[in-house]
């Protein structure tokens, strides 16, 4: 893997570029924090990159290195116009890191894919939607299959 920093997937310069671009992609808006407000370019980006395919990580490193020193808004605009695949990868990485953050998840009302153990008495043969009637209406309409011909 190219450009791998022993401390993570990104060099310091790449992290700075990511932080700047990420705030264009995910600003503070609609009641949600910006990428920089949650420290996206640090721990959260590294966690996301550690979970992503190697070729995606290499692609992101290239994008960040190629766009060091540019105005973030101009970089994003240029990617939209001329390098949509690079924009896709950048947005995927930034989103992937952003939605890991507990504060972001809390604002969305998303607890994560957490377990919910149902008490045995809630797993019954007669579920609630039966007593309400809709499934009884299905039954009363009768068979919807064609039987085996005799």
């Amino acid at each position: 893997m190219t450009g791998r920093n022993p401390g993570g997937a990104l060099t310091g310069e790449q992290r700075d570029v990511l932080a700047a671009l990420a705030d264009i992609i995910i600003p503070a808006a609609e009641g949600m924090p910006s990428a920089s407000e949650i420290g996206l370019a640090g721990e959260w980006a590294e966690r996301a990159l550690a979970a992503m395919p190697a070729d995606a990580v290499a692609g992101l490193q290239r994008i960040l290195s190629e766009n060091a020193g540019g105005s973030p808004a101009a970089v994003i605009d240029a990617l939209i116009r001329t390098r949509p695949a690079d924009l896709d990868l950048l947005v995927a990485t930034v989103s992937g890191a952003y939605y890991l953050h507990p504060a972001v998840r809390a604002r969305l009302g998303y607890p994560g894919q957490v377990p919910r153990t149902l008490p045995p008495e809630e797993v019954t043969e007669t579920p609630y939607y039966l007593t309400g009637g809709p499934l009884e209406r299905v039954r009363r309409r009768g068979p919807v299959y064609r039987p085996t011909p005799r």
Binding site: I24, I26, A51, Q113, T117, P127, Y129, V138
Partner: protein, 546 residues
């Protein structure tokens, strides 16, 4: 008891099974319980529950490569690549103990009676050599083994059909979807799942994580490494992992003598067996048959009909996402299915196409999954404040009606050996040649339009349709079809190859038609029926000896 055992050396057995997936596992469990010495060769290995990413914060990201269902995306050494440049659909599968049941969504749906009589009822394709009623006792037996959770009384089936475990909760997404179908007067029913709603057969109770498609970290989803292999191993079956079969040799009498495989040290080894069973799925099985040429079978083992590899069917898939104002907790599992509908399953010629499709409601996953809802949008629409607005609109407020379309068998849709591509052991890889037909396109257009109506009836604010997905080839069928005529089929109704009396095929390759619903229930039931027959007729079984 089986036929007289071979000399008891580790590389000999009464029965060799190639593939430790759904059908191979059923065979291993029941043959070993009946006293046969069984060896199973599996190219992959075991998956530990702790490996599955569903309990990880980074679950959605980890699903993108290592746990992706497309072997070409994973590219693990134990995956063989598939050449797909001439295919509209990518085949999906998992190589390992449990086969594709490791990553499947565990929808457990019996075929309907008409699925076995397509020729008689609709005047097209062929009838199966047995009926729903012939298979029904085997459905019941495997449903107990696979811990199927569901509700009795579905009018889509003849009575009695009573799943062994009560249904999993259908959740707010199920109730919302059902409200729409209720308004339209359309069929729906709680979707049966091979996911334990209570502890059963070594499985734990489902905790509704909704990460089923990347392996179940709870051990609640039925995968045959959990439901069948412990039984088989206790009965003395031997499972050799990391074993990549490259050929099935033939003796001078035309019997298969077992298999030649490559182990993880790169050494070529042999297993000798009286009977060989292929259970390598609708791509792997024809691949192995085509790799096993001889003077007797220059076009591939058991291929005098020329049909090995042909009639590939893969269930084209479409989906309609509905977006609602109500909070629906749409990330909650099982994934799995919430409810299903057979309203448009049976043929109605007035629609302009033959056969039909089963629908199911599935959860949406986490926030990254919803980004695909606006894939293809212009760049500005996907970033900035628009990104937040898009997520706020979709996440937790959307669910999908998925549509599984029955594709008709066509000989031109096929699996062949690629002339260039190989797996990590240098064995020629399969090439998939598959085109969606006009019937398929007309069917999906119709069903997508009906699914939009269903969402609108349920109160959806808007819908997002995907008419033909490429990564949908979960169900691999038809490539070693069964039938009574050796000129037009590869195996008979008991899975035995017409050309080779000690070779059996028991996976979805043997399907005559593919129905419009998930095949694993039928794969498992057919496998058990074949194995039962083998056991009952052991005294007349022709065998090979080394």
């Amino acid at each position: 008891m089986g036929p007289a055992s071979l000399n008891g050396s580790p590389d000999t057995a009464d029965v060799l099974i190639v593939g430790a997936g759904a059908s191979g596992s059923v065979a291993a469990r029941h043959l070993s319980a009946a006293g046969y010495s069984v060896v199973c060769l599996e190219q992959g290995g075991y998956s530990a529950r702790s490996d599955f990413p569903g309990a990880d914060l980074e679950w959605e990201l980890k699903a993108q490569q290592k746990w992706h269902p497309n072997p070409n995306a994973r590219s693990r050494p134990e995956d063989y690549p598939c050449e797909v440049s001439d295919s509209d659909v990518n085949p999906l599968m998992w190589s390992g103990v449990g086969g594709s049941t490791i990553l499947w969504a565990a929808h457990w749906v019996r075929f309907l009676p008409s699925d076995f009589r397509v020729k008689t009822l609709d005047g097209i394709c062929d009838d199966w050599p047995f009926t729903y009623e012939d298979l029904e006792p085997y459905y019941r037996r495997v449903e107990e083994e696979f811990a199927v959770s569901g509700l009795e009384g579905d009018p889509a089936y003849p009575s009695p059909y009573r799943p062994p475990l009560p249904p999993l909760p259908i959740g707010r997404i199920g109730m919302k979807a059902a409200a729409g179908l209720d308004k339209l007067g359309w069929h729906w029913w709680p979707g049966p799942n091979a996911i334990a709603s209570r502890p059963h057969n070594g499985l734990r109770q489902c905790t509704l994580r909704g990460t089923c498609l990347t392996g179940c970290p709870e051990g609640a989803k039925a995968s045959t490494d959990l439901t069948h292999w412990p039984h088989a191993l206790r009965s003395g079956a031997r499972l050799i992992t990391g074993a990549r079969v490259r050929e099935l040799p033939l003796d001078e009498r035309g019997r298969v003598t077992g298999a030649v495989y490559i182990d993880r040290d790169g050494r070529e080894r042999r297993v000798r067996a009286g009977v060989t069973i292929l259970a390598a799925n609708g791509v792997g099985t024809p691949r192995l048959l085509q790799l096993s040429t001889s003077s007797r079978f220059p076009d591939g083992l058991a291929n005098s009909s020329g049909l090995v590899g042909r009639n590939l069917m893969m269930h084209p898939y479409a989906a309609v996402v509905g977006v609602y104002d109500d909070p629906l907790e749409s990330w909650l599992g099982p994934a799995g299915q919430s409810i299903q509908s057979m309203q448009f399953y049976e043929t109605d010629e007035s629609r302009g196409f033959a056969r039909g499709a089963k629908w199911q409601v599935m959860p949406s996953g986490g926030p990254l999954g919803l980004r695909s809802g606006y894939a293809g949008s212009a760049g500005e629409e996907r970033i900035g404040a628009n990104l937040h607005r898009g997520i706020a609109e979709l996440f937790g407020h959307a669910f999908e009606w998925g549509i599984i379309a029955e594709d008709l068998p066509e000989e031109g849709n096929r699996v062949v050996l690629d002339p260039v591509l190989t797996d990590s052991d240098g064995v020629p890889a399969p090439k998939i040649i598959y085109r969606n037909s006009a019937n398929t396109r007309a069917m999906l257009d119709y069903h997508v339009a009906r699914a939009v109506e269903a969402h609108e009836a349920a109160g959806a604010r808007r819908t997002l349709s995907t008419s033909l997905m490429r990564d949908c080839g979960w169900h691999l069928m038809g490539t070693a079809r069964m039938g009574t005529n050796p000129a037009t089929s590869v195996v008979g109704q008991w899975g035995r190859a017409h050309d080779v009396p000690n070779l059996y095929i028991i996976d979805g390759s043997t399907f005559v038609t593919c129905a419009g619903t998930n095949p694993t229930a039928t794969i498992a039931a057919v496998a058990l029926r074949c194995v039962d027959h083998m056991i009952k007729n052991a005294s007349s079984q022709e065998v090979a000896y080394a």
